[in-house]
Assembly symmetry: C2
Homo-oligomer: 218 residues x 2
């Protein structure tokens, strides 16, 4: 019985890693599609998002089932409770990757990224992919250093996000109204993606400390 | 023991209602501040958001504590699991109300809502407040009709959200780049606020049906 239980907890963690891996793949493709106006790649991100949704829902079901059957306590309970929150964030990160891909598809064959902002969005995309990859490793290792790195990367994303507004409001800006809408939305999606990764990193911290308020606090 | 447990479950539900009530108050003030450029009101929303955050964190702690001590099953377990998800959505709705208030404050003493969009944002604000009030009643009553109404109101919000883009991209639009950024972000915040309400309504549906995938499915 005890052995089955430990196997189930391991399965919860492995499934989280698997979903995080799909999210990393999705944001990689979405930001590539966005920056290179690759409509086929954008469509594959949009078509595959339901996989992340389904895996997240099914992980929730497993977690609820474990709570009902195994009545875990202490660290075991924290693993299950965190999984319920982490799956929601991963699912949302998948949605945000999909939104980025949708912007690329809607604008195609035109380029979605206005000229003056291409280096900024290249860097935002690179950081989001980096963060997603670190997240997968964090869920495997619970490494404090990785959690810290994710927080630092998120600070860089926030700075770039603000710089997008400086650019579109600046005197040298040459884009039209559609460019401003796209840049605003795209930048917001990139920023929220990174926020969710930080939120997941806090849940991993909770696994270690058991202190919900400190780990999750705002 | 059993009686204490039932009291705790009642407390979980009452605390959710209390937080939903604060969220409704917050979005009411935020949208009023936004539409009337009332910086004092905007500041009170920003100053009070931590109350929602704290109540949500403390409710999470209670829920985790109940899972550890009472090991609930069936509907009791669903109440606790849903509470963990609903509190996260309510906390986020509070953040979105705060973001709307921040836009009003940042632009003050100028008006944040560009001229051609005032009726649209009045209506978006009215709908978000209406949805938040219905949500409070839904958490008290678990009424199927209210859940349905929230979904319909959300459809109206989505339509208005899209109409904002039609306006700023239309030929009669007279706003500047800053107006477009503000309108895009504000509209997105209003839309996400309503999305979270729908997501909570789905969790209430799960309380009744016990089917996570159908109730939460995307």
């Amino acid at each position: 019985m005890r052995e089955v239980f430990q196997q189930e907890l391991t399965e919860v963690q492995e499934r989280l890693v698997r979903i995080a891996d799909l999210v990393a793949e999705s944001i990689d493709k979405a930001t590539t599609a966005f920056n290179s106006s690759d409509v086929t790649l954008a469509e594959s991100v949009i078509a595959d998002d339901h996989l992340i949704d389904e895996l997240a829902s099914s992980l929730d079901e497993l977690a609820i089932d474990i709570l009902a059957r195994q009545q875990p306590v202490a660290r075991d309970l924290r693993i299950v409770v965190s999984a319920l929150r982490i799956s929601a964030s991963l699912e949302r990160m998948g949605d945000l990757a999909e939104h980025i891909a949708q912007l690329a598809r809607t604008r195609f064959p035109e380029k979605v990224v206005p000229k003056g902002l291409r280096p900024t969005f290249q860097e935002l995309g690179r950081l989001d992919v980096e963060i997603a990859r670190k997240l997968t490793r964090l869920l495997q290792s619970e490494s404090t250093e990785l959690a810290e790195e994710i927080r630092n990367d998120d600070d860089d994303v926030d700075e770039l996000h603000l710089s997008v507004f400086d650019k579109v409001l600046g005197e040298t800006w040459k884009g039209n109204a559609g460019d401003i809408v796209d840049a605003t939305l795209a930048s917001r999606y990139h920023e929220r993606f990174a926020d969710h990764a930080v939120s997941i990193a806090k849940k991993v911290q909770y696994l270690q400390t058991g202190d919900w308020v400190v780990a999750v606090g705002h």
